[in-house]
Symmetry: C2
Subunit: 340 residues, 2 copies
Amino acid sequence: MDTKPTAGFPSPALFLDSASAYRRSAALRAALELDVFTALGDGPLDAAALAARCGAAPRGMRILCDALAALGILQKAEGRYLLTMEASIFLNRTSPACMADGFLFLSSPHIQNAFRDLTSAVRRGGTSQTASDVLAPEHEFWLDFARAMAPMMAFPAESIAQLLGAERGDRWNVLDIAAGHGIFGIAVGRQNQNATITAVDWPGVLDIARTNAEAAGLAGRYRTLPGSAFDVEFGTGYDVVLLTNFLHHFDPATNEGLLRRVHAALAPQGRVATLEFVPNEDRLSPEFAAMFALNMLVHTPAGDAYTFTELERMFRNSGFGASEWHPLPPGPQGVVITSK
Amino acid sequence: MDTKPTAGFPSPALFLDSASAYRRSAALRAALELDVFTALGDGPLDAAALAARCGAAPRGMRILCDALAALGILQKAEGRYLLTMEASIFLNRTSPACMADGFLFLSSPHIQNAFRDLTSAVRRGGTSQTASDVLAPEHEFWLDFARAMAPMMAFPAESIAQLLGAERGDRWNVLDIAAGHGIFGIAVGRQNQNATITAVDWPGVLDIARTNAEAAGLAGRYRTLPGSAFDVEFGTGYDVVLLTNFLHHFDPATNEGLLRRVHAALAPQGRVATLEFVPNEDRLSPEFAAMFALNMLVHTPAGDAYTFTELERMFRNSGFGASEWHPLPPGPQGVVITSK
């Protein structure tokens, strides 16, 4: 059913489409698991040839690829399937911008399972016991996250470094809180050869960040500080603090406790760059930000997708000065830059 | 992230949206389970009032309803949520056209679980053992199906009866194969007071069909014939055979075996009405038909969404005459009417 309503005729199409939307995630995930997009990187193939390349059955491959083409994820011409420009950039594993692991992570059973609990999460107003473990120290989830999501974060990471003026080359001490894959601190360190990065996270995750930093040539300017962002001694005198995809996991009071610690760690002219899914004040757009709040509902006791007004208030309540909002199109996120 | 690409800028938005599309199914399902749409039937409510009505937490309800409003499933104005026209017709349980149980069925764990096996279904070219049990006799799935899907089939059922000319009131013997909820035969029987309906299905399902037929006032003209459509003795002299949502479960050879039995059961001027998800010849549109083929891949050994050409060929190979195609907009299905 097309989701476009027939003019003047009430249609259940949107609901039918929504009830069955999980099929889209399943189709993309199956194609990534079978590495269909890399197999098509050498040129168009019909279902039988593609099935042979991917170790699948022709009937299965034909039905899967027709579904992908119906969704616009592939193209089909004269009975053969071919990559769209976007698929060749973001889904083909030979592409440097490939985000295949990120899409596999976002559709992973671990995350989808938490959404099976959505009704009870709405009833209780937060995660169930079984889903909340993602906030536990050293949870394996964050190792997977750090490995999978780095390519998807490359664009926002470069954008944040630019917005901060990293290319001016000022002598910076940078604190990267909950560094994960480390990509945000690494982008600042690459754009500013005079920046030293201190990355805070759990030890297992910091191993991944350090590996990425060394691959980027930052070994001599990269320091790791293992522990919880809420407990570890940050030190003082930081020019820049990176606070990326972190505040959404916690309630405002918890965030303000952290922000007061961040305030104390900053040099007088220091700034904080906060990357978040930030809905508009009506909380309905961008759609991805509104939907992301569901993730926080099923995965955390009290996290949220905060509006700019709410983020600004948390900073002000923690002793900070002005905050500025910078959307990062075409992505779903934006960055708030706050002065001490 | 909006799925509209930024002009000239390659964007992974479609893939991000697809990877996370299961959230839409989860959001609609949670709202149906909490009966949010019926609670809003009396007028707009804010999150706290709606949470109190539905036995949920205000935070959970606010995040859920913002997501639904972002998806266009609800509206939001001045901090209160309200029904769209479509939601008031199709999701509110006080509406006679409510399809809530159908959407709950389509997003049920049973069906979603089968899609978790999609990668292996593509590899093997058909269902895994665990998912194939829906074709087993008397599977509980079909009782759930018969109870949940009747309201969603009301519109196609009335349309098919009209297309067949039921209102002319000719003395008809009607055979309803795999009758399920019975709604297709019942629609013919309601439009044609001179029609007698014979419904074939498993005994448990026929109990549901008979209950529906009696509620529609057809008790004296409704006969049930328990058993498999492939084995049971249909009898002869039928003027109309209804073959709705059945052929897609099987391969063409199996269908032709059935169609030869149908041919033998028909009177000389008899006709068959076949309701199906019928993709265009390129198999890419309508989108819902292309996606429905995935259901047949994960649930059956060799079923499919057949094109009109394929359906016409199966009928011709089974001894039938001409077939005509009638789409049933705005729904995703259409009906093929075939003469003996």
